[in-house]
Amino acid sequence: MVVAEQKPIEEILVMVADFNKVLLTGCKGCVTVCCSGGQKEVGILASALKIARKKEGREIEIDEITLERQCDPEYVDQLEEPIASNKYDAVLSMACSVGPQYIAKRYEDILVYPCLNTTFIGGALEHGVWAEFCQACGSCGIHNFGALCPIARCAKSLMNGPCGGSAGGKCEISPETDCVWHLIYERMSRLGQLDKMGNVVMFKDWTSSRDGGPRKMVREDLKQ
């Protein structure tokens, strides 16, 4: 899933500094699952903002709504009624950055602000801990690496790791970061494929990645 985290509240406070009434939108998709933009977090952020503004003596009115997903236009349409019948100064989105962009696209005349930082594509290690597992390079080759992704998980995206900074199974950039190449080594070793690791992996074709320009995916069979 897409993993995101709330922006520092100080930053959000600055965004809304001039507003008196905003619509705060959550998303029931990935950000609910990663506990950053579901209904609960929407409530918490709304309350925190209201406290901050009450403290300053200028209250802010915040309406809360949590959409099924902000990355589907049909759901974003659900904002029409509230936006039409209220004079919001802005819409705040607690979705991955797709959300605010969809809202902006659909409601051309209203200011839209993101409240989350979209961090990575990853998964939960345990409740409350998420890690990056994929960089969306567009051509998955992890089967060559013991089903572990060196692109996303090696600090230097090495294809022929581990580099000299690998120590005790950890990456040189932080003792909390696993050296994925160490993991690859262990897994390949367990699978009896160490010899494969002795081969030089040649240049990766990055055209399928973001480097090839904004991507679009079309399924002709599905397209209406």
């Binding site: 580099c163 120590a167 950039i173 160490h182 160490l194 081969n199 240049f203």
Partner: protein, 308 residues
């Protein structure tokens, strides 16, 4: 001869080679380069010029290499994959060749997290082993990565670095072999302190016949003080400073610790000379270039042989 550099020739003649290292300045002032390089002149076959070492912005390696050439010193161009994509790398390599640079050391590059621009976007389009392959392809096939033929084929003596102490230790020799497979001609190792472990590593490399396929130079960095030794022991990943050296430094007066460090370096070099498969030493006297002579001569490696 691959490129016919002095370093290559010294190796070819069967001499125990010595290389030095020089960090470019963090500015446009070339004055200090001359000063530092003077200390190394005649002491070493070739001087490595670091490339934004530790991810700190410095004068371009290639420019400094050219300055050294002007001083009559043979440079060894260090090139990292962090800051350039394959286009820039190949362009630079072509340019380097045109400038007369023959030795190139292929590196991944330190992560920018530790440097002076941690906010930078890193590139890592290709990695260090692939870089070796790029050089080899350009030199041996006269082709770029995309198989386009070069107009004018560059000549390189291709180097790479290895860290025998990084984990998993068992994989280190394999990785050396990968570099050889990719086309490396010579290897400079990370600073060596744990001699025992290094011997184990070298023994394996030797047994696998790898030292026959490339020249391996042992990395030597003299310890200036107990503080430096401790720092390297604790904070530099992949460095293994045994406690005995620290004890040894502690055993002498603080002002004399530097001298003791030099002594250790000399002893190490002497040991390296006796080690099977070691073809030379790479003396990395970081910001201590003035004492390289002391080390090299102490190790009985002066005068440097003349080759042509």
């Amino acid at each position: 001869m691959k490129a016919g550099s002095k370093l290559e020739k010294v190796f070819a003649a069967g001499h125990f080679a010595v290389t030095g290292e020089l960090g470019p300045p963090r500015g446009a002032d070339a004055h200090h380069i001359h000063e530092k390089a003077e200390y190394l002149k005649g002491m070493v076959e070739s001087v490595n010029v670091t490339d934004n070492q530790t991810a700190v912005v410095r004068m371009a390696s290639m420019a400094v290499c050219r300055l050294l050439l002007d001083m009559g010193i043979e440079p060894n161009l260090q090139m990292v994959c962090r800051d350039r994509n394959r286009l820039a790398i190949q362009a630079d390599l072509l340019g380097a060749s045109a400038l007369g640079i023959k030795n190139v050391l292929c590196l991944s590059g330190d992560h920018q997290k530790f440097g002076d621009h941690p906010q930078a976007k890193n590139v890592f389009d290709i990695d260090s082993i692939q870089l070796i392959a790029v050089l080899k392809k350009m030199r041996d096939e006269g082709k770029l990565i995309n198989d386009h033929e070069c107009e004018g084929i560059p000549q390189y003596f291709i180097g790479a670095a290895v860290n025998p102490f990084a984990d998993p230790f068992e994989f280190r020799v394999t990785r050396l072999k990968k570099k050889i497979d990719a086309g490396v001609d010579f290897i400079q190792t990370q600073c060596i302190y744990n001699m025992e472990k290094f011997h184990t590593y070298m023994q394996q490399a030797y047994d696998q016949g790898l030292t026959e396929k490339c020249y391996v130079m042992a990395g030597i960095t003299p310890l200036k003080s107990v503080g430096m030794a401790r720092y390297m022991q604790k904070f530099v990943p992949g460095l293994d400073v045994p406690e005995e050296y620290i004890e040894r430094l502690k055993g002498v007066d603080k002002k004399k610790q530097g001298d003791e460090g030099i002594k250790i370096a000399i002893e190490q070099i002497q040991e390296m000379k006796e080690t099977k498969g070691i073809a030379g030493v790479h003396v990395m006297a970081i910001e201590w270039e003035e004492r390289v002579e002391e080390i090299v001569s102490g190790a009985g490696l002066l005068p440097r042989p003349e080759v042509s």
